[in-house]
């Protein structure tokens, strides 16, 4: 699945998007965050406060317990500050 990062999450991870293949045991958004956090210090820094991070699956906002099964694109970003 494709993963996209925005704003300071993007800056901390060091890339805007990538394709990942998480193991089968990673079923929800929060489990994916935990798995990503374990990849490197950059990811751990980006996701150091997981409750602050917002997520979207296929362009729609989702909660941390949302299942990632079948997702084409998952995005992680800080709370929005547009308008």
């Amino acid at each position: 699945m494709k993963v996209k990062y925005f704003a300071w999450v993007r800056e901390r991870v060091g890339k805007a998007e990538e394709t990942i293949e998480p193991p089968a045991g990673v079923r929800t958004v929060e489990e994916l965050i935990a798995w990503l956090s374990g990849r490197s210090e950059a990811y751990a820094y980006a996701f150091e406060k997981p409750k602050v991070i917002r997520a979207a699956i296929d362009h729609a906002h989702v909660k941390p317990d949302a299942t990632i099964a079948g997702a084409r694109e998952i995005a992680f970003f800080p709370p929005m500050t547009g308008g």
Binding site: W8, H59, M80, G82, G83
Partner: protein, 155 residues
């Protein structure tokens, strides 16, 4: 009749008068047009701002705005809606966002414009980075914006 819906995300500036005219020109069913313009301030609590840089999530930003415009159309009798959000570098005094709501009567137009702005702030995927004399940093979300959006939640 819900009228035309225009949603644009663009780097270029917009002309408020032209956008209002585009929505209402030549029509006799519209009795009220409310427009809200969001403008880049030069002063924030911490000091002077040199510029803002707006980042967005292409695709989702348009879809999220569309979902809220559709909700506004279902909640109020509107004759047209325009939402324009700029991205890229914006300096103090320049436009950031425009919402125009047209209706037969003012209440629906006022309420729909405010509803759309409250949701643009809290749920449309845009992020502001601030440049000042002391450096650059991401603008933090305000709880007051979440509270403003929560007012519109139907119980």
């Amino acid at each position: 009749m819900t009228g035309p819906v225009t949603i644009r995300i663009q780097q270029d500036d917009f002309d408020v008068a032209r956008e209002i005219a585009a929505l209402s020109h030549g029509r006799t069913d519209i009795g009220a047009v409310v427009s809200f313009s969001g403008i880049c301030r030069g002063d924030e609590d911490e000091g002077k701002i040199a510029a803002l840089t707006l980042e967005h999530y292409p695709g989702m930003a348009e879809e999220e705005i569309r979902r809220h415009v559709d909700e506004a159309l279902s909640r109020w009798p509107l004759n047209g809606v325009t939402v324009i959000h700029r991205v890229g570098r914006i300096e103090p005094g320049q436009n950031i966002v425009l919402v125009v709501a047209a209706s037969q009567h003012r209440q629906a137009a006022f309420q729909a414009a405010e509803f759309l702005m409250d949701y643009l702030k809290t749920s449309a995927p845009f992020w502001k980075k601030e440049e000042s004399a002391t450096g650059t940093g991401w603008v933090e979300a305000h709880a007051r914006d979440d509270q403003a959006a929560a007012r519109w939640t139907k119980s």
